[in-house]
Point group: C2
Chain length 275, copies 2
């Protein structure tokens, strides 16, 4: 069922990703000590007056990590012939605006359907690193960036999602810019610095991370240490978030409308911010 | 890319569905006069303290309209070999807990990505017809059922979702019971009566309908008149909703986390009720 060019691309990706083997072992070791899901905040009343869509429209043209279409639609029924319209899709679990489940980088982590609904409606904290990323496509969101957010807005709320706003969302229609792929095949886009991830795991109780780029790790990462720390610890991640400049840095609620599929390691997610 | 048995099933379905051609013509005519999306209610502050998951877990075993698996997963990367886990999916747009977009039954209706985010976070009104449906699998939710709800809870809120709770959600692990398919191949499960749909279109401003069965129309419908009235009028539908007995009849907010896919006629939706 591979799309044209897919087999070759996957083979190339596998070859490039031998480094993953070591990371995988580390992740497996981590999984053995993985923590329970982050308890949601106390059941305080939450309030909102408007909805902001943090989701990109998915199409075969949307840039993907593997460089092959992340979705293909096949029209099986047409209204003129059949009285109704209906497509079948072929999709990569990790393409477009989507969720990474703990199992994506662990042997025994939670698959998507096991993430509780109360883990999917959480306070949203947006860390704006767009000015720094505009100067440096390899920028990694640091502990200092988190500290600056806390200085202004208070401690990161329990059970929240920490989202990196790098400004990359505006490049999704330009795959070369969005991926930043150079002549050696290395990606260049911002992500979370592994030290910031380690600090969040140790010092705060955060449910998920989100980025407006292709990966929690910055594009040039060779060891995927944001992924290999975060997901095996029972947390989720979101990639390719949109419109993070349209929501406040603090105070919004994020709804992660991820497709609920048995055994999935991730999946398309409708992200809606309640402001 | 058809799954085993699929081609035959689709062929059979097509043959059975010649009646759709007339309905399609009616739908096309309707589309020409289709109304604008229902304006959301005034931007009043909405409040909630807990989240209820109204989504069934999707798997190849989930009953579908076509009788073939609605999803298939293919594992393309494995953590032991590759350092991470990742699947590709093949799915039917209209399987599991999912949304019907206006285009599903119209020539020019909105595709999924064109439904505004403010149409996807709406007041939820649950009409309980479980006792009647338990006595009659062909039960159709009537205008009298809507009137009874309004007598108790007041007028249906502007821009709401009207959900039929028939009790069918508890049968999803038993395809024979859930579909009610008889020896002649006719389905038997509850749905919306076309007269109730017509009344809602004329007298109320409702954004969507939801059912806990396979179809907005009852299983034995021959003309799909709930679909052919509702969707071409610029409204959406939800099928296979779960846990409608776990939310109040009035007062909750429904979040429709439908995958945002270009040109889609529907798609998997994470339904979360904010109570």
């Amino acid at each position: 069922m591979c799309v044209p060019g897919c087999a070759e691309a996957l083979h190339a990706a596998l070859s490039r990703r031998n480094f993953f083997k070591g990371a995988g072992t580390a992740a497996a070791a981590f999984a053995a000590t993985s923590v329970a899901p982050v308890a949601p905040a106390e059941a305080a009343s939450r309030r909102f007056t408007k909805v902001v869509d943090l989701t990109h429209t998915m199409s075969p043209a949307f840039p993907t990590f593997f460089g092959v279409p992340g979705i293909e639609l096949e029209k099986k029924f047409d209204i003129k012939k059949d009285g109704f319209n209906l497509n079948w899709w072929k999709i990569i679990e990790h393409a477009g605006t989507h969720l990474d489940a703990p199992i994506h980088f662990s042997e025994n982590g939670a698959t998507v359907e096991k993430i509780g609904a109360d883990q999917l409606v959480v306070p949203l904290a947006v860390i704006d690193v767009a000015a720094k990323a505009a100067q440096n496509a390899d920028y990694q969101l640091s502990q200092a960036d988190l500290a600056a957010w806390e200085k202004r807005h208070g401690k990161l709320p329990q059970g929240c999602c920490v989202a990196m706003h790098s400004g990359w969302g505006r490049y999704v229609t330009d795959a070369a810019k969005f991926t930043g792929k150079d002549s050696a095949g290395t990606f260049h886009f911002p992500g979370f610095h592994p030290d910031a991830v380690a600090w969040l795991l140790k010092e705060r109780r955060v449910a998920g991370l989100a980025v407006d780029t292709l990966s929690l790790d910055y594009g040039a990462s060779k060891d995927f240490k944001a992924h290999t720390q975060w997901l095996p610890a029972g947390r989720w991640g979101i990639e390719n978030a949109a419109n993070l400049d349209k929501v406040p840095a603090a105070g919004a609620t994020l709804v992660v409308g991820v497709a609920k599929v048995k055994d999935a390691t991730g999946g398309p997610a409708r992200l809606l911010a309640l402001v």
